[in-house]
Symmetry: C2
Subunit: 78 residues, 2 copies
């Protein structure tokens, strides 16, 4: 019953199990978008907080999340 | 001439010095958006590649970059 070292890597799956419902737009330092991939069929959006670098999953379907992203993109032309 | 240990941290500045001009949308695993902050007045967009996890700066003003982001966001509802 030797433990197989093979496949000791983390089981491929989604990064997020739950999402932050509070509107934390002002606390966000950056936002990372993960399109669906072989390991996870969901689009995932993960924010990094300014204060402590903590990573928080956001609800990809929440309107306020879309607004935060649009706001960042809108700043490109300024 | 003792070297001051104070302020040995990396000088705060932008993450990107140049951007990738080729359209690498299909190679992208994730995209991170960095709005302007006290250290960097530019919006920065950094992609992580599927193949090797390499991080590549994208031109925030390039239309194809906007399309890649929109495509990811469009997949949320599927």
């Amino acid at each position: 019953e030797g433990m197989s070292l093979h496949g000791l890597g983390v089981e491929p799956r989604c990064r997020c199990s739950g999402t932050e419902s509070r509107r934390i737009g002002k606390l966000i330092e950056s936002i990372e978008l993960f399109p669906p991939n072989p390991h996870c069929k969901d689009t995932e959006i993960i924010a990094t907080l300014k204060s402590n670098g903590q990573e928080i999953c956001l609800d990809p379907k929440a309107p306020w999340v879309t607004k935060v992203i649009e706001k960042i993109l809108a700043k490109r032309s300024s």
